[in-house]
Subunit: 183 residues, 2 copies
């Protein structure tokens, strides 16, 4: 951040009075520009004994398989965002059941939420951000071709919980070293 | 948003190619300035049969009682943010147990998370954003003096679940009409 989005003056980075962290501050108009984590919301969609996976058409992890998910938008509930992303990426209309996993990924400033959801009917197709979409059984999960640890963790919890029929919502932390600076 | 925080040029609001929502776009440097909900994270802190409440020293809802909570920071897990806010607002060191409630508040672009937590010892005090901090029993909860519906809902769930000893994480939506524009 170089300029104040309110008045266009240059910003400085310093700790405001009463705060403990450096913020981008406009000394011209006084605006403090807070920067906060973003929320990614998605669905673990099931139909009978199968789970809906989408193959990513875009970076990062193009060609790898994921659960439909994307950034939560302003004015949207986490559940509505999860359903919207599932419609966009897998052309699938779902019935949201319950929050299932919430991951903190502090190294990339994200909170990732997955809801359990059911397909209202077995209609789906690859959206513009997907190469392919499939309903797969547990035995068919391509464990070494999954896009992100949050996806494999959520699937592992699901298949474990499914044995008892008790699905418990979980919050987990994914701790990684910071990304290296781009060359 | 009036100016590009990257290059300082004026921004326009329009729907980027492949998108479905208007975004602030810099036509000079091409930056798309996404705006997304923020996460508030906090703790439902217990000690023996009592719950920790803090009386707000600041707007909004100054003088009303709340659970310690505040905006999640970049580089922080949701649980660590909840513990930090509890330390800042109630000078209390806590042991985080589990995610308990997650509320979507789309009218104010917030996701609110509360974790269940335990006081490691009954030491607490009002931080700079609190007028008072107290450990109260269920009978002592000032239900008509609670700051926010997410606080009263979380407390109601807690006292209900406590009867069975089974604490279930829940995701809920708080749907309100949009705020009226400021005069």
């Amino acid at each position: 951040m170089n300029y104040c989005s309110h008045c266009g003056s240059t910003v400085v980075s310093r700790i405001p009075p009463g705060d403990s962290r450096p913020r981008y501050i406009c000394e011209e108009c006084g605006t403090i520009h807070y920067q906060n984590p973003r929320v990614v919301t998605g669905c673990l969609v099931t139909f009978e004994d199968r789970v809906l996976l989408a193959q990513r058409a875009i970076a990062p992890r193009q060609g790898f398989w994921t659960l439909p998910a994307g950034f939560l938008e302003n004015g949207e509930t986490a559940a509505a965002g999860a359903a919207r992303e599932t419609l966009e990426e897998a052309c699938a209309e779902v019935n949201i059941l319950e929050l299932y996993t919430m991951f903190s990924l502090p190294h990339i400033n994200q909170i990732y939420c997955f809801f359990r959801a059911e397909l209202t009917r077995p209609d789906f197709a690859a959206g513009t951000e997907s190469l392919d979409v499939r309903l797969v059984t547990e035995a068919e999960i391509p464990w070494d071709q999954l896009a992100f640890p949050v996806v494999s963790d959520t699937l592992r919890f699901y298949f474990s919980d499914r044995q008892t029929g008790q699905f418990r919502a979980r919050a987990l932390d994914v701790i990684r070293p910071p990304r290296p600076p781009k060359a």
